[in-house]
Symmetry: C2
Subunit: 170 residues, 2 copies
DNA sequence: GTGCCACTTCAAGTCAACTTGAGGTCAAGG
DNA sequence: CCTTGACCTCAAGTTGACTTGAAGTGGCAC
C-alpha cells in the first residue's frame, strides 16, 4: 500500500530531493522505511497537491506548514484564504496593468517608447510604487527590510518607500 | 542641476544602497561626484521608473540591462515586449484560477476543504502542474535546473515534471 | 582648522526553496 | 556471496536582488 519515494516522485512530479526537503521541514511525513528507502502513505499525494496549491497562491513553505494541524489534517483558516485571495487579486490587477502597457508598447507606432503617452503613464505607475516587482515578493508574505541601524528613528523616516506592494490599507 | 544620491533615493523611493548596486550592475550611471558623493542626472528618475516597470513585468535586472542600448537610450525590442506580455497573461490566468479557488474555499460551507468539489478541482490543477508557484519564478525567465548528473540521458527522463510553468508551446 | 556625519568602498551576509556532492548503506539480482 | 544501483545523510552550494558591516574620506558648519 505504501509508496516508496521514487514512486511518489514519479506520481507527483516532485523530485525526491524536494520530498526529503519537505519531510525535513515537516510538510510531509514518511510512514516507514524499506531498508533506507522512505515509504509514504498514498495520501501524501494529496498533501503535495495542497502544498503546490499553497505555493501557487503565494504562501511560503512555512506558512503552508502552519496550515496543517499538529495531527496532520489541514486546518485552513478561511479568513487567511480570503485575505490571500484579495492579495492575489491586487497582484492580478497590477500585472494586468503591466501586461496591457506592454502589449500597447509592443504595437505602439511612436518612434521611441518614451514618446508614447500610454507607455509614459505606465512608467509613472511603476515609478510611484503602484506596481511593485513580482518575483520573490509578488504574492508572498514579505518581510520589510529593517533599516533600524542606518535610518535612526528620530530622523524623518519618510525616506523609505512605503507600501511597495500596497501593503497598507488603500 | 544634478541630484545627489540621497535626493534620488528620496524622489524615487529606491534606497541609496540599491542605487549603488544598480550603478555597479550598469543599470544607471552617475554623472560625477561632489567629493565622494555621487551625482545623478535627473533623467535617472525616468530610468529608475523604467527599471521598476521592467521588474514589475517580470524581467530580471540582467534582462533590463540588456534593454538599454550601449548609448544608454532604451531600445526595447517590441517582440520581447509582446512575448513578455503573453507570458504575463498566462500567469494572470493561472493566478486568477487560484484566486477564484481560494475565494470559493473561503466561503465554502463544506465542513472540510477536502470535501468541497471546487477545492478538490483546484487541487488537481495544482497537482498536475498547470499552475506553478509564483514567487521567484512567476513571470521571470527561469532557468531549468540541470539534472544532467543525477538523471542520465538514457534513463527514461519522464521522471522530471515537464513545463511546471507552461514553458513549452501550449 | 577641525570635527562631524553622511557618504564612500568592498566583502560578506541574507533569504527562500531547493539542488548538489561526497561518502555511506542496503535490498535485490545474478 | 558479492556486486550494483538507488537510495540514504549531512553539509555546502546556488540564484537574484539586495542589505549590512567595517573601515575610510571629505565637504561643510562652526
Amino acid at each position: 500500500m505504501a509508496l516508496d519515494i521514487t514512486e511518489v516522485a514519479k506520481r507527483s512530479g516532485v523530485p525526491a530531493s524536494t520530498l526529503r526537503f519537505y519531510e525535513e521541514k515537516g510538510l510531509i511525513v514518511s510512514v516507514g522505511r524499506r531498508g533506507l528507502r522512505r515509504l509514504f502513505d498514498p495520501r501524501v499525494l494529496e498533501r503535495l497537491a495542497l502544498i503546490a496549491l499553497g505555493r501557487a497562491a503565494g504562501f511560503s513553505l512555512d506558512e503552508i506548514g502552519r496550515m496543517f494541524a499538529p495531527d496532520g489534517r489541514p486546518r485552513i483558516d478561511r479568513r487567511v484564504l480570503a485575505s490571500k485571495a484579495e492579495e492575489l487579486d491586487r497582484t492580478i490587477q497590477k500585472l494586468s496593468a503591466v501586461r496591457d502597457g506592454l502589449q500597447h508598447a509592443a504595437v505602439c507606432p511612436a518612434p521611441s517608447h518614451m514618446e508614447c503617452p500610454t507607455f509614459r503613464r505606465l512608467l509613472r505607475g511603476a515609478a510611484s510604487g503602484t506596481i511593485g516587482a513580482p518575483g520573490n515578493k509578488l504574492a508572498s508574505g514579505r518581510r520589510e527590510p529593517e533599516y533600524s541601524k542606518s535610518a535612526k528613528p528620530g530622523k524623518a523616516p519618510r525616506f523609505r518607500r512605503r507600501n511597495k506592494n500596497n501593503r497598507g490599507k488603500p
